[in-house]
């Protein structure tokens, strides 16, 4: 279960999630400090640990549009957030799967800041309103990467297979 800590509008770009001026910082261990750097209040709350792991950000459509910068994912992953949005931009969704950031595609999602949500692989239930919203599952091909624990682990397996077959 997670509480909605923030709501965002449509077309939230990677420039908003992780502004370009911090792009020289690349390591997943260092990126979280710049999450939503230009939304000062949210950034402060995250940095001062007022956001428990499993908290939810509800976004609008086309969440994560723009750059392929992976920092936009690792910065959120650093706080173990769950992102729920009606749909995600392709590269952002892909990066999330690869790094293990939990993204939930939920076309009808209706929730406000403070609401508690129960999220599983088929639906999101808003405990405050009692309403349920169905989730569009990841395609099987992506699911396999999630199950392996991310793309690094998935690729590692393939590298090992290559080694044993030589």
């Amino acid at each position: 279960m997670g509480q909605v800590i923030y709501k965002l509008g449509d077309d939230i770009s990677t420039d908003i999630i992780y502004p370009g001026r911090y792009m020289a910082t690349v390591l997943p261990t260092e990126t979280p400090q710049f999450a939503f750097a230009d939304i000062k209040e949210l950034n402060e709350r995250m940095k001062t640990k007022q956001v428990p792991p499993g908290s939810v950000i509800v976004g609008g459509k086309n969440f994560g549009c723009g750059s392929s910068r992976e920092q936009a994912v690792s910065t959120l992953k650093g706080y173990d957030l769950i992102i729920i949005a009606p749909n995600f931009a392709r590269i952002f969704l892909q990066n999330s799967i690869n790094l293990g950031l939990q993204t939930v595609t939920c076309p009808e999602i209706d929730a406000n800041v403070g609401d508690d949500l129960e999220v599983n692989s088929t639906e999101v239930m808003n405990k405050k309103t009692g309403r349920k919203f169905s989730v569009i599952p990841l395609p099987k091909a992506r699911q396999a990467i999630v199950e392996a624990g991310g793309l690094i682990a998935y690729t590692r397996k393939r590298v090992m297979v290559g080694k044993s077959s030589v």
């Binding site: 370009g20 792009m23 992976e70 994912v73 590269i91 892909q94 690869n98 099987k140 690729t155």
Partner: protein, 430 residues
């Protein structure tokens, strides 16, 4: 059922007789490009081999390209140190398609790749940059991926679990009015499709207007296809592609063009007639907020930018130089010009454009991404407005969330710089 261009490319690269939209394939990669974010790719690449007892090894260094462009020359010790690490990695791994910060062969990745002949029709190209879509201009299937995915490509030489995208066909006909061109066409299309309208899809461009368009113009429309969410844009290779590759990119040997089948299956078809199109402007803060110039002319601008991987090519500079010739940039307006590559910079220098820009009062900067992503040059002040030929106007894109960016063609940018307000070049500039 026949195949689209991208289906054909993916079938070939995956070793299959045919594929269709929705299939999951594992295509072999012909070119894997990164810029400064190679620093993160290197980190993830080494991570893959952790605990395996295997030495990290790049599958084929000749297929990797690394271009420094996003923060050149380095704006901070951090960037400089990352660049240094990448240089060492490049040397240790014999990566020949490496372009350092240089005044002869440097530049923005999406210009350096085509002009050096690294992009071939029918190939699969991945890049750790969303505008990798650009290379569809030469008939390749080119798309952006994240750094971890690139690390996986470096290790395996293929992209894992790729879903074959559906294709939207766009037919373009008509002759552009004077001072209207490819940038206006793509802005118009993005406005029509919206920023997510082509998400997970490919846009395949056809029609007489595209056939008559130079590779430079095709790079503009494929570059910005991602702003409609597209996985890639693609122009099936033709005579013009062959001309560009042999004459401008110095490619020798056989080039194979891939065309779609006559009975290829498209998700939808969009027809556009450009003959009456006015200059188009993307207004703050989304690229799909597109209006005819009539709706925004007269808006005061503080900074004009001409350049980027979208519109920093020789024909763009030529057009701007023509409009600026003998004129001055308006007081209260700054004009920044950054050619897309060192080669273009040198050509513009030889043609006298650079001198003309400076005479008009513009500042000509080194080739690179510069103000496009607002890291170290050309940031905007609070409340300032920029008019730019780049491809994104997201909040904060030019380094300041309290500023606004309008996107336009080079002709609009040049005409507006003279007036200090958004100006329609088709109405004559006095």
């Amino acid at each position: 059922m026949g195949m689209t261009v991208v289906e054909k490319i993916l079938a070939r690269a995956s070793g299959l007789p045919s594929v269709k939209a929705g299939d999951v394939v594992e295509p072999k990669v012909d070119l894997a490009m990164s810029h400064e974010n190679a620093a993160l790719v290197m980190n993830q690449f080494i991570e893959i081999y952790q605990g395996t007892g295997i030495q990290p090894k790049i599958w084929d260094p000749s297929k990797i390209s690394i271009i420094f462009d996003h923060r050149v020359p380095a704006e901070s010790p951090k960037t400089a140190s990352n660049q240094k690490k990448i240089r060492e990695f490049v040397a240790a791994n014999d990566i020949a398609k490496f372009h350092d910060i240089r005044g002869d062969v440097g530049g923005i990745c999406h210009q350096v790749l085509p002009e050096n002949g690294y992009v071939r029709p029918g190939s699969v190209i991945v890049g750790t940059d969303s505008h990798t879509t650009s290379h569809g201009a030469l008939g390749a299937f080119a798309f952006g991926i994240g750094a971890t995915e690139m690390a996986s490509v470096w290790a395996l030489g293929s992209v894992l679990n790729v879903e074959v995208p559906a294709t939207i066909k766009v037919n373009v006909s008509g002759k552009f009015k004077k001072f209207v061109g490819p940038k206006d066409l793509i802005l118009h299309l993005i406005g029509k499709l919206t920023a997510e309208g082509a998400n997970f899809r490919v846009i395949e461009f056809h029609g007489p207007t595209i056939r008559d368009m130079s590779t430079s113009g095709r790079l503009v429309i494929c570059n910005m296809s991602v702003e409609a969410g597209a996985t890639s844009g693609i122009v099936p290779a033709d005579k013009e592609t062959l001309r560009y590759l042999t004459r401008e990119a110095g490619v020798k040997g056989k080039i194979v063009c891939v065309s779609p089948d006559k009975d290829a299956l498209y998700e939808r078809t969009i027809d556009i007639d450009v003959s009456r199109m006015d200059p188009q402007i993307a207004c703050p803060h989304t690229v799909d907020n597109v209006k005819s110039i009539k709706a925004v002319k007269g808006i005061k601008i503080h900074q004009v930018v001409i350049g980027s991987c979208t519109n920093g090519r020789l024909d763009d500079l030529e057009l701007a130089a023509k409009i600026l010739r003998g004129k001055k940039v308006a007081k209260g307006t700054r004009m920044l010009i950054f050619p897309a590559s060192a080669r273009i910079y040198n050509q513009a220098l030889a043609k006298g454009y650079i001198g003309e820009f400076m005479k008009a009062g513009a500042v000509v900067m080194n080739s690179g991404c510069g103000p496009c992503l607002g890291i170290h040059e050309g940031a905007l002040g609070d409340g300032e407005v920029a008019l730019s030929t780049t491809n994104r106007n997201f909040k904060g894109r030019m380094g300041n969330p309290n500023s606004e960016v309008y996107l336009c063609s080079p002709a609009v940018a040049a005409a507006s710089a003279i007036k200090g307000v958004i100006t329609d070049p088709t109405k004559g500039v006095k």
